[in-house]
């Protein structure tokens, strides 16, 4: 059943649409109350549009128009299709945590022997236990602004069906990387509302990979995902997300990251799939001396629209951040990068740098780069740069004069262009994952 949650064109009573759906969503009591508050927040604003500054380049009222109803629980056919898709995207040595059409699927996941200090629950369990709203600040209060103000996060909170809740105890090094795989498998277009959480205890270490993929035949679907990461003091988190959704799908994802003192995170986001995508990450420096590397690459062609938006909030002193972003845009595709760095008045000795570059491969390709620094402290080192250009003709000719075809020459130069961002991935296994994803995009265009 595909009931639109809202249709801005008619704007007819989204409340009723939610009212009709909410009893099918997991959780009651406090959870339901929290859902209702979140939905009210969403309903007041509706889908983000270009008159909202943060969504200026990604007008969902135009690009997405409506929010589809949640996908049905995956049936046998959907699970089989998902399993097939998983085979080509599962990564050896990683602990798979698989969500199909917005539902956690145990039979496709690795839950055995989590080891000391690693707890994995599903969001559905937590919601059905009714403890969510009381225990967790996520919906009820939320210490990060986006929970209170971003309508897509609010929609996600209202509609969420499942997700992965990961807790890693203090001092634990989780040797096996975790891999959350989102698979769209439904035969008819529908929406997935997933929300996952990572809580990394003090001095704990983990590697988290997220993949967004489609089973054969899945098309026109919508991913609405949120990930909250609470990163304790003295921790180490390596994080890579790869969006390889089907090319007519929508992927609207938010991440909130709260960094404890001297936490060190290295996160990388690559978007090569989905017709319309937005990844917005809100990184809050809550403890002193934390270091965040937030890098990314958009590889877009056809009529893809890919938006990567990073908000870094240096709220406390001595934080450092590094941001390298690359966009490769071909045909009539549109890439958006927004990078906002806020340095609060008391965040002295902040050292924040951001560099974004876009490579346009066709006359009709478009890239918007919007770096913003808002600095309210006086003893800081901050810098940003942005460039947009085409492939260098003299380099192309040199390569072609050495025997490379036009596509091969372009591919080599594109790889070099995104290479700097990919090289910033600290873990070499994760770096390979990103390289392979970029390689798949390059292979598909030739």
């Amino acid at each position: 059943m595909n009931v639109a949650v809202t249709k801005p064109a008619s704007r007819d009573a989204p409340d009723q649409a939610f009212a009709a759906l909410r009893d099918r969503l997991p959780g009651a009591g406090k959870v339901l109350g929290a859902r209702q508050r979140a939905f009210d927040l969403y309903a007041r604003r509706g889908l983000p549009h270009r008159r909202m500054e943060d969504w200026k380049y990604t007008d969902l009222r135009v690009l997405m128009r409506e929010v589809l109803a949640p996908a049905p629980t995956p049936d046998r056919a959907a699970l089989d299709a998902a399993e097939k898709a998983l085979k080509t995207h599962a990564i050896k040595g990683l602990r798979k945590l698989v969500l199909v059409d917005g539902a956690f699927v145990r039979e496709l996941s690795d839950l055995e022997n989590p080891g000391e200090g690693l707890q994995i629950r599903t969001l559905r369990e937590v919601l059905e236990g009714g403890v969510w709203a009381g225990d967790d600040p996520l919906i009820a209060a939320g210490n990060s602004d986006p929970e209170k103000s971003d309508s897509m996060m609010a929609l996600n909170a209202a509609m969420m069906t499942d997700g992965v809740m990961i807790d890693i105890a203090d001092g634990v090094t989780s040797a096996q990387p975790l891999h959350i795989v989102h698979i769209a498998a439904a035969a008819k277009p529908a929406a997935m509302f997933t929300r996952s959480q990572l809580r990394l205890g003090k001095a704990a270490t983990v590697t988290l990979v997220e993949s967004f993929i489609a089973a054969e035949g899945a098309s026109g679907y919508q991913v609405h995902d949120a990930l909250t990461m609470q990163v304790g003091d003295h921790t180490r988190l390596d994080h890579v997300r790869l969006v390889e959704d089907s090319r007519d799908a929508f992927n609207i994802s938010s991440a909130t990251v709260r960094l404890g003192a001297r936490a060190h995170i290295n996160t990388f986001a690559l978007t090569s799939g989905a017709g319309v995508s937005r990844y917005q990450a809100f990184v809050e420096f809550a403890g002193e001396g934390a270091h965040a590397e937030t890098h990314g690459v958009n590889l877009l062609n056809g009529r893809q629209h890919g938006d990567t938006t990073m908000f870094l909030d240096h709220a406390v002193p001595n934080g450092t951040s590094r941001e390298i972003f690359r966009a490769v845009v071909d045909d009539r595709a549109h890439s958006v990068f927004q990078g906002r760095i806020i340095v609060q008045p008391k965040a002295q000795k902040t050292d924040a740098r951001m560099m974004t570059r876009a490579l346009l491969l066709s006359d009709e390709a478009e890239a918007d780069n919007k770096p913003e620094l808002e600095i309210f402290a006086d003893d800081v080192t901050c810098g940003h740069g942005a460039t947009t250009g085409a492939l260098d003709e003299s380099l192309l000719f040199y390569l072609r004069a050495r025997g490379l075809s036009e596509k091969e020459a372009q591919a080599l130069l594109i790889q070099a262009f995104v290479g700097e961002a990919i090289e910033s991935i600290a873990d070499h296994h994760l770096r390979d994952l990103a390289s392979f994803a970029a390689g798949r995009w390059l292979a598909a265009r030739s």
């Binding site: 000719f397 072609r400 490379l404 790889q415």
Partner: protein, 252 residues
């Protein structure tokens, strides 16, 4: 025997300006030809047109390579057929490791010729051998293509490629520019090592100096887009003594 390269009455424009006004040149296998001439005489244009650089419009004439119409081929097809241009200013390609570049290029050429690609160990062995003979240190091969290379290193990297790809026609565009005498000698030794009865070379230079190290069989003087005089290596020495001014009138 069929000439390796035949340039016949070549007329070339860049935008609205004609640069070559009917240039002819025949090069046989095993020969080394020097093309000399003042700045702006069209020497580099000739090398670019042979290699297939975009931006040049051929309005008349033809270029045959091994009897085939070169002008109909893309630059990479020309490379696979055996045309090699050693650039006057080799470009820097950050982010592309020299080794990756060499392997991709060599295998692309081999693939285009229907030959099997080199395996990694065979390729490494071949590159190391050639690099050692040119005094190219291994760490240069790990760096980005020409990134941070000195002028001499860049030219040696060109010769390294020439040795690796084994082309039948080598065009050396102002190989001596920016090189001191020691670097020039190393580069010239590298070139001379590649002289063979099967391979021809066209050495483009402004100065006679290079021809002390790479001894040509023929010398052609270009002026204002044409070959105005051809001779043997003595012609280069005459030019050194009397300069290019004497040819200005011939071309006019």
């Amino acid at each position: 025997m069929m000439p390796l390269l035949e340039v016949k009455n070549l007329q070339v424009r860049v935008e609205e300006r004609e640069i070559l006004h009917g240039l002819s040149l025949t090069v046989n296998r095993g020969e080394v030809h020097a093309i000399m001439g003042p700045n702006g005489s069209g020497k580099s244009t000739l090398s670019h047109v042979i290699a297939g650089k975009p931006g040049y419009e051929v309005t008349a004439g033809e270029i045959l390579f091994k009897g085939e119409n070169l002008l109909e081929m893309s630059p990479d097809e020309r490379a696979a057929k055996g045309v090699f241009l050693a650039f006057q200013y080799p470009v820097e390609i950050p982010g592309v490791a020299t080794m990756t570049f060499l392997r991709t290029a060599l295998n692309a050429q081999r693939k285009a010729r229907g030959e099997s690609e080199f395996s990694t160990p065979d390729f490494l062995k071949k590159v190391r051998g050639v690099a050692a003979s040119l005094n190219i240190p291994q760490d240069m091969l790990r760096r980005g293509v020409n990134v941070g290379f000195s002028g001499g290193e860049k030219k040696r990297n060109e010769i390294l490629q020439m040795a690796l790809f084994e082309p039948s026609l080598c065009i050396l565009d102002e190989m001596d520019s920016g090189l001191d005498i020691d670097a020039l000698r190393i580069a010239a030794d590298g070139v001379n090592a590649l002289r063979s009865p099967e391979r021809a070379m066209v050495v483009i230079t402004h100065y006679q100096r290079l021809l002390n190290y790479i001894i040509p069989d023929f010398v052609h003087v270009m002026s204002k887009g044409r070959v105005v005089k051809s001779g043997d290596k003595e012609l280069a020495l005459d030019l050194e003594a009397s300069g290019y001014a004497q040819f200005e009138d011939v071309a006019a």
